[in-house]
């Protein structure tokens, strides 16, 4: 049962086979049995989950109307605020932080009668591509425990892959949903910037962050996106436009369909096995009558550099509030105010977060701001223009998600630049605000999953999901589950 998709589980529950309580119990059992190895979860609230499930069963019995996710467990990346429940962001700084409010997406999940099963591990403040930057634990790839699940939403991706939950939420600032989805063989969707409210999402880089689903298949991604998308007056960057019924049109193929294939995504650094799998996926589309079009994104070569200026600049300011004064970690001993700041932040933050705060502070500082920050905003505009030009010729853009399949834990921890390059194909979607999805498209000889990335113009999630679904219906990669 735990290997089923959320859509299947919902159908079963609606038919009256089994109960939400037994379903939640099954996933809690899976967590108990598997998560000692996978270590995807930071906190699991068994009692609350079972109580919610019990309540849904009772309401179903009374014939009351139920939400779109009634009785389905959802795991949530620990970057999303949950009222009355610890929200750590994978950081020591927020070890004891209990938000008095729910993130917008959490309210939406509660309203949809989802069962919030637990909070998942992540790179501290979503900074990283392997989840190794968590202050708490190392999450392992369910397909190969010696490998990384990717990051920063590694906990959510691993939890879905390991069948510890059918649905999970992550956040994507430079690839943090799509890259771990790819490395764990699940589906991960980064919506258009503004499609999902960021209220209650602890900020890393506000102009890039977006919440999105991690699921077994595209149908579940559509289902979960439908619940979390939409305008929220508490986030002025959330856009007020209707949310299509993604699940309703999902199985309609896009015809005619032109897929743009950027030549820059198949250059040096791309692993051979990954390229092979991605090209095979493109063949699947071609067979179905899709036109493949060679496109160019010339400025994408500057995406990683641009990203590490914009994202770190915003982060240096966003993370300034963790100073030990009002909440969060405060150093036990300090001489004066400056010492309190230095010690609290010095003790509370890990190395990668400190590195990025320093970078961001530097690129904004007087004398360097024009050369770095201001220049990056200009390049960001050019990267967006690249996509606008490409999308004038094609419906979606396809390519790899990450240059390699899952790498071994520890392999890149001492080489931040190598780690940053894990996101080379995903970062430009955040810089330009467009939507992107990672879907399973094969395995390496060593049995590690490989993902295909599809990207669509802003607010074209409906088309993106339909195109992704076309591949999914022609293949069975999304049905594979790791042996645990």
């Amino acid at each position: 049962m735990i290997e089923h998709t959320a859509a299947d589980l919902l159908a079963t529950l609606r038919k009256g086979d089994g109960s939400a309580e037994s379903l939640t119990g099954a996933f809690l059992d899976a967590i108990r049995q598997r998560d000692t190895r996978v270590r995807a979860f930071l906190h699991v609230d068994e009692a609350a989950a079972l109580e919610k499930a019990h309540d849904i069963d009772a309401r179903r019995k009374r014939g009351e109307p139920l939400g779109a996710l009634a009785g389905i467990p959802v795991a949530v990346k620990d970057v999303l605020c949950t009222a009355g429940q610890r929200t750590t962001c994978g950081s020591k700084v927020l070890q004891s932080f209990v938000p008095p409010y729910d993130a917008h997406v959490i309210s939406r999940l509660r309203r949809a009668d989802a069962v919030l099963i637990g909070k998942t591990n992540m790179d501290e403040f979503a900074m990283g591509s392997s989840t190794e930057n968590s202050a708490y634990q190392i999450t392992r790839n369910p397909w190969e425990l010696a490998c990384t699940p990717g990051g920063s939403s590694g906990g959510s991706a691993a939890a879905v892959a390991a069948c510890e939950t059918p649905l999970a939420l992550g956040s994507d600032t430079g690839g943090s949903i799509r890259q771990p989805a790819s490395l764990c063989g699940v589906v991960g969707l980064k919506p258009t910037y503004g499609r999902v409210s960021r209220f209650g999402l602890v900020a890393f880089a506000s102009s890039l962050d977006q919440v999105g689903p991690l699921t077994h298949d595209v149908r579940d991604a559509a289902l979960l996106l439908e619940v979390i998308a939409g305008h929220d007056a508490r986030d002025s960057t959330s856009v007020d436009r209707p949310v299509p019924k993604y699940t309703r049109t999902l199985d309609d193929p896009v015809q005619p369909l032109t897929i743009g294939v950027p030549r820059e995504y198949f250059g040096a650094g791309l692993d051979g096995e990954v390229e092979q799998a991605v090209r095979a996926a493109l063949k699947v589309y071609e067979k179905a009558g899709t036109k493949l079009l060679d496109v160019s994104l010339p400025y994408s070569q500057y995406a990683v550099a641009t990203y590490y200026v914009v994202a770190t600049a915003e982060a240096s300011s966003n993370l300034a509030r963790y100073d030990g004064v009002h909440y969060g970690h405060r150093a036990a001993k300090h001489d004066d105010l400056i010492d309190l700041y230095c010690r609290s932040r010095g003790e509370g933050f890990g190395a990668e977060v400190k590195r990025r705060i320093m970078l961001g502070t530097y690129v904004l500082s007087s004398g360097y701001k024009d050369a770095y920050y201001v220049k990056s905003l200009q390049v960001r505009r050019l990267i967006k223009d690249d996509f606008d030009r490409a999308f004038a010729q094609c419906d979606v853009i396809a390519g790899p998600v990450s240059p390699t399949a899952a790498f071994r834990l520890g392999d890149r921890s001492d080489d931040p630049l190598a780690m940053y390059l894990s996101d080379i194909y995903t970062i430009s979607a955040n810089l330009s605000g467009i939507a992107g999805i990672s879907i399973p498209c094969g395995f390496t000889k060593g049995g590690l999953p490989i993902g295909l990335q599809l990207q669509a113009p802003p607010f074209e999630e409906e088309k993106l999901l339909r195109v992704a679904r076309m591949h999914e219906r022609a293949t069975d990669w999304h049905t594979r589950r790791p042996k645990l």
């Binding site: 929200t87 927020l94 008095p100 409010y101 915003e314 300011s317 300034a320 500082s365």
Partner: protein
Amino acid sequence: MADLPYRIVIGLEVHVQLLTQTKLFCGCSTRFGQPPNSATCPVCLGLPGALPVMNRRAFDLAVKAALALNCRIASFTKWDRKNYYYPDLPKNYQISQYDLPFSSDGHLDIQTPEGTKRIGIIRAHLEEDAGKLLHEEGGSGKDSLVDLNRTGTPLLEIVSQPELSAPEEAKAYLEELRLLLKALEISDCEMQEGSLRCDANVNIHVPHADGVAATPIVEVKNLNSFRAVERAIKFEANRQYGQFQSDGKKLGDRGVSKATAGWDDVRGVTVVQRRKEEASDYRYFPDPDLVPIEVDSAWIAEVRALLGELPAAQRTRLQSQYALSAYDTEVITRQGRPFVAYFEELARGCGDAAEAKNWLTNEILQTLNDRKSDVRAFPQPADAIAELIREAKATGLNKQRARDVYAHMVSEGGTAKEVIKKLGFTPVTDEGQLRDIVRRAMAANAKAVTDFKNGKVKAADAIKGAVMRETKGMARTEMVQQILLEELQRA
């Protein structure tokens, strides 16, 4: 100022809190004096994941102020983060406006002894206020308390050109600004409560052999009253002159930069604190949590329609419409719009603008001052006081009696007519009645009548006195005089 050996150059940076019900980026109350940290929420506490959303009403008020200051309103404006660490700033950045303020290039006319002077406004921008730190008495340095009620209150920063050339002008500028902002109900401008704060940038131009030397600019802070602004500038200019005499340092010299000084009101001195170049690098950048604002002409027109008559225009109109002196107009307009409205109603009601002005600027203003109250809380409406003025004139009620009636109306209530009757101030105006009283008085003072007949004109005073006693002074003297003469001649 002509006798000073230098010319003072002053630019003012004024912060005013806007009169909104709620804060700039959240729904918390901005009311002054609530229990510490009670008017807070995740947004103004800067909790993780909380996001700011602009208060449209605050922006409208700010645009209103900028229009009143003749500023140009930008069609595109945005929010920036000013980054610095301080415990009264929970996010450790302030949401402000940096390179694209919503308004710029305005002016404010002030009155100086030399006449009207136009002071340029460089810019006016919106930002959020910080909280307050309460330091433990005794200065152990251990316990400082933070009150975040004020955090996020909308602040309008108005930066003048360095075009004020005397401490008195700085004060006049502040008074005119306060009058304008109060009249438009943009801010209550209470320096004591911190809803108006002012920093002064001061330097002096000293004539010397090669022309004019400008001294380094000093920003004077901690100015808690208009009087403090005036005194501090006077002191600082003089201090800079002394300094210049001893070190000759000029603005623009190598190693010379802007300094900050605090005003010590008790000792009456400015204390130079730190060099500006050592101050923080604020690392301004656009706030990615807030969308930029596009202001179209319809929006501006909508706000402009709410402006009404500005104090300067009002002053001119009052002078010509009611034939008031410049001084009287100033006294009236300075009290704000409701006071002016009261005056105009009173003048219309009693049909005598001069009398209305006298009553308003003497009795009514005195009452308001005694009660520390506002004209909106004054117990008698303008038409009631107008009735008093009309009655007093019609019945020849003397000033002192009219004042008594006024005092009674204000403290006990009642209309002018009622109070006049109650106090027995109803005049004896019936000629027949008065003639009877005169005749009775003559009968009772036969000797005086005889004396008068014998040429002692003064003897009539005794009879007059008796009549006035009889009428409790409510007969008009001229009328008594007239009737008495007639009766004496007839006798």
